[in-house]
């Protein structure tokens, strides 16, 4: 209670988000069914207001809030902006999803998205192990509900798997916090940074492992990745977009902050360990993605491999001048590109398999261009944002003396081209079979091409994504996201410079 830094305005973006979530919940209780979209509009407004507040805070000075438990520095600011921007896109995707607009619990969806976003932002800014644990749970608990939102067989299964793994790794995170508390006599990062180098190494490593398990779960890295493909495949498409993007940003920022702060001076075990995890993540994600036929599952494995690259700067945190900029830029580029790809998936709710995309370039050229831009962006093709992010990340690993890591990551990038091409090729080259769901029929008639495949393959059956074959609203997200992915790549230099700056505390 020193009272010097207890200014609630420091947390204005978070407060706005949480306040809007509470208001939207209240609003949704009294609104008639056909006006529930107002709660969604309120959520969008809250996100936009939070974005403005975050931008203002980003221009302001670096500092800490509430007894140095929360940092307001470039990592938090970038995290806030990317998370809020991503949440905004997900909310737009949800508001344009025909299934969700007809759902009896529409308001709750928006509220859960907002609350999970608050949790992700808290993860990004937490400078105290207590806040880290609270942020983890705030980001997780609404996400479990989101995964099972459709309440059908696959949705509930996705939620159960997500929940069981999340609860278990949440306990591991808390155990890590316990051990670090024992080793460092406190929970604040500045105090831990002073104490941990003198603490017994075994304790520090055990604690660090526990906390790393939590970070890996939230970011979807190997070995805590098992939930991700099922949760993305089994839940609604906007939920998949959310789960693969927003919590990751918070978790990786939290991992970076831990690595650059309390664990920075405790020896080489952290960079070595995280490097191994990163290699495992990118390799296993790529290997599993090769054989996928379901587009959402493919995107899920693609995000697992992307987490591998994103873990590189977390591994070398504090050992090179480039780490922070590389991580933040890659996160921003990845978020916008991944959301763009998911927006295309949302726009074609009936197309669940790679083969369903055959002939998309002929039927809907603009959408196909957006998809190809985003997929090539995820590979890391110049001039997209992810290309520049990957370049920065590889240079950071190289700078810090992890040449082998940069080489493995580059090799994985080349290998990943293969499975993205498996999606791009039918989209661009193929012709749609007669009666395919991509055909612009009269007012959203169900294509019998998909129905035939669905009969042959139990995986394709009966997910309640709505009756329309084309959810036109989602293109409102797909086009800007694809454009932003290119634009961010072109403006890379100045943006990278904006992301520099010391950590708070």
């Amino acid at each position: 209670m020193n009272g010097t830094d207890e200014n609630p305005l420091d947390l204005l973006p978070e407060v706005l988000l949480a306040g809007c979530a509470v208001l939207a919940l209240l609003l949704g209780c009294w609104l008639p069914r056909h006006r529930q979209w107002l709660a969604g509009a309120l959520a969008v407004t809250g996100c936009a207001a939070g974005l403005v507040a975050a931008a203002v805070a980003a221009a302001g000075p670096t500092g800490t809030a509430f007894d140095a438990s929360y940092a307001v520095d470039p990592v938090t600011s970038t995290g806030r902006i990317v998370i809020l921007g991503g949440t905004l896109l997900v909310l737009l995707l949800s508001l344009t999803s025909p299934w969700l607009r007809a759902a009896p619990r529409e308001t709750e969806f928006y509220v859960l998205v907002l609350l999970a976003a608050v949790g992700a932002v808290l993860l990004a800014g937490a400078q105290d192990l207590l806040l880290l644990a609270a942020g983890y749970l705030l980001a997780s608990v609404p996400a479990y509900a989101l995964a099972g939102f459709a309440r059908d067989g696959r949705g509930t299964e996705a939620a159960l798997k997500y929940y069981v793994l999340g609860a278990l790794l949440g306990v591991l995170l808390l155990t890590g916090v316990t051990v670090l508390l024992a080793a460092g006599h406190g929970t604040g990062y500045p105090a831990l940074r002073r104490e941990l180098p003198d603490a017994p190494v075994g304790l520090v490593i055990t604690g660090g492992l526990g906390v790393l398990a939590g970070v890996l779960f939230k970011s979807g890295g190997v070995p805590a990745h098992y939930w991700l493909p099922d949760a993305v495949q089994g839940s609604l498409a906007p939920v998949g977009a959310f789960l693969t993007t927003v919590p990751k940003i918070g978790a990786l920022a939290a991992g970076y902050r831990l690595a650059a702060g309390p664990l920075a001076d405790t020896g080489r075990w952290w960079p070595d360990l995280v490097a191994v995890v990163a290699v495992a993540s990118m390799t296993l994600g790529n290997l599993a993605a090769f054989s996928q036929r379901d587009v959402r599952r493919l995107l899920a494995y693609s995000t697992i491999s992307q987490v591998g690259y994103l873990l590189l700067p977390v591994a070398v945190a504090g050992r090179t001048a480039l780490d922070q900029r590389a991580l933040l830029f890659y996160l921003a580029g990845y978020a916008v590109t991944n959301l763009g790809a998911f927006a295309v998936v949302c726009a074609l709710p009936r197309a669940r398999h790679l083969a369903d995309y055959r002939g998309l370039a002929r039927e809907r050229p603009a959408l196909a261009v957006a998809l190809v831009v985003c997929l090539l962006g995820l590979v890391g093709t110049p001039p997209t944002a992810v290309f520049l992010g990957k370049l920065a990340v590889f240079s950071a690993a190289f700078d810090a003396g992890y040449t082998w890591l940069a080489v493995v990551a580059a090799a994985n990038t080349v290998a990943s081209l293969f499975y993205y091409l498996r999606w791009i090729a039918p989209t661009v080259l193929g012709t749609a079979p007669p009666g395919d769901e991509d055909r612009d029929g009269d007012g959203g008639r169900v294509g019998n091409g998909n129905a035939g495949r669905a009969g042959a393959d139990p995986l394709a059956g009966g997910h309640a994504t709505g009756d329309a074959t084309f959810a036109g609203g989602a293109v409102l997200v797909a086009y800007p996201a694809a454009a932003a992915s290119v634009l961010l790549g072109l403006l890379g230099g100045p943006v990278l410079d904006l992301l520099a700056g010391p950590l708070a505390g």
Partner: protein, 119 residues
């Protein structure tokens, strides 16, 4: 020992009240017997040889229990504040009011969505 004296006094008062009310009820209360009085419990589930529905309870019991757990546990945050509310001053008071308001919103939500209706 002195510091614990009020607790002993409180315990004594509680014991006097408990014994007193039982004895008073037996002495001055009217004793009219009916069916409910001779059953094992005067409230809750009807005791049957087998539990309702072949050993299963209606799901509403679990829903109500879950809601109870949530609202019950939230109170825990009031304890640290109650212990040190004079040290935290206006800031703590406003914070706690906001917290209570949020819990109230959750309650309003449960109520409006029919979570408290039995049938």
């Amino acid at each position: 020992m002195n510091a614990y004296a009020p607790i002993l006094v409180l315990g004594g008062l509680a014991a006097v009240f408990a014994i007193g009310s039982v004895v008073a009820a037996a002495l001055i209360g009217p004793s009219r017997y009916n069916r409910a009085k001779v059953e094992a419990y005067e409230c809750g589930i009807e005791p049957t040889p087998q539990a309702v529905g072949g050993g299963r309870f209606p799901i509403k019991y679990y829903l109500t229990a879950m809601l109870f757990i949530i609202f019950d546990i939230e109170i825990i945050f009031l304890y640290p504040w109650a212990v040190s509310f004079d040290a935290m001053g206006l800031f703590g008071l406003v914070e706690m009011l906001l917290f209570a308001l949020t819990v109230a919103v959750a309650y309003a939500y449960v109520w409006r969505r029919g979570g408290l209706e039995w049938d």
